[in-house]
Point group: C2
Chain length 251, copies 2
């Protein structure tokens, strides 16, 4: 039986990134797409509990089924696994996100939220993103890597609780690097404006500040130096390395 692949994203079902990813995954197996009906960027692992969720069929053929969902990327994965899919996926891929999800972006990203959700459900899960926010971004240089990485993870699934955050640099690709999540934060995040009636409002914007620009083992370094970054990522956020210190302080 062909591998069964579930696809989602946070840029919405009509984005270029998810159509490229769908075409690539059809080279590997049967595909079901369950994606937001419009843009749901920066939705992290948000879920919809205060209103109902709906979905509509966009396309249904033997090897490709596509559904658009009213909810967040994490809602899409939950709905796909709980309601739409008739068997457990061999792989979940999310993206290709228009924009990098390296460094601390992993905690805000709807793309990676969906990946963590797949991971929690015991499905080999990968997020693919490219350092290009344009709607018509050129994904072609990334394509063979996406297929190769996906095939390898289907053949050799990671242990429970682990997934991959894969980002593609701007320009020519020099190779692939296994990295750690770069330390950094967003600064200068608000632009204040004034409503015609005189009240202030704020647009979120900002710049990423890399707290360790010299370290060559981070995802930011890899992307800035022409490498695809692969960060092995986990859903267990326990800080084992400081448990003893906290124990001494608290008990």
């Amino acid at each position: 039986m062909k591998p069964f692949i579930l696809i989602t994203n946070d840029d919405g079902i009509n984005s270029k990134g998810i159509s490229v990813l769908t075409r690539l995954m059809l080279q590997i197996g049967d595909v079901t797409v369950v994606a937001p009906d419009s843009v749901r960027s920066a939705q992290s692992n948000a879920i919809t509990i205060s209103q109902p969720i709906t979905f509509q069929t966009v396309e249904e053929s033997d090897s490709l089924k596509r559904y658009q969902c009213s909810g967040t990327p994490t809602d899409c994965v939950k709905l796909a696994l709980g309601t739409i899919c008739t068997r457990k996926p061999d792989l979940l891929v999310s993206g290709i996100n228009h924009g990098s999800n390296a460094a601390i972006a992993v905690i805000y990203s709807g793309t990676m939220g969906a990946v963590l959700e797949g991971c929690e459900n015991g499905i080999p899960s990968i997020g693919f993103s490219i350092s290009d926010y344009e709607a018509d971004a050129d994904f072609s240089r990334f394509e063979k890597y996406i297929v190769e990485i996906s095939r390898k993870i289907i053949e050799s699934p990671l242990p429970y609780g682990y997934c991959l955050n894969v980002n593609c640099p701007k320009g020519e690709i020099k190779g692939v690097k296994i990295c750690r999540q770069c330390k950094g934060l967003w600064v200068k995040e608000f632009e204040k404006r004034t409503h015609p009636f005189g009240t202030p409002y704020y647009w979120m914007t900002g710049e990423f500040e890399n707290l360790e620009p010299q370290s060559s083992d981070t995802d930011e370094w890899a992307l800035n130096n022409g490498y695809i970054s692969i960060v092995p990522t986990k859903i267990d956020m326990t800080a084992y390395e400081i448990c003893e210190e906290v124990e001494k302080l608290m008990c």
Copy 2:
């Protein structure tokens, strides 16, 4: 100078939990509250980028300032640090959440989203939650622990990138346990209903399935056995322990 404490939550500025937390923090220092204007549960680290964010003053005295914000819990922290606060907080506390945020809930929780945001910004940050979803939950048994844990973290801040996820059990408290995040997932998550016009819709619901009910070092075990759970938590989601394995597979 008195410690300066920033408070937020995901149940909204009018919840009982945040009013109790505000009263407790006023025993320790000067307090600024920046909280959502209504319920924003399960918003994870979602941020608002497609529409502007606004806030209004609710109360402004020497030791207590309160503002309600149109955004998510993470928006509240970003807006507080970028726009509202005139100095860097010595502590950020989020909650007291009406409902447990143990185990995998950490990735969905708006309460913990705000904590991770404070942590990323180098502020000692703690999430407080109680295993009781009632709007009029009784927080009294938890109060002395909240004050004690908060004082300790102000005196001995954790290193950059680390924060605490603190949950209170139902009923009598036997003590405090330092724990790890329990492995588990949500199952049976959807209830299907039919719109008066005949189309289906889905409510998210579900049950938590503990994948390691026998392990006594998890937060779920602590809560089920009468202990306050403290999980040292980190914003670096890199799975260092499988980097070598992924390197062999990919390179």
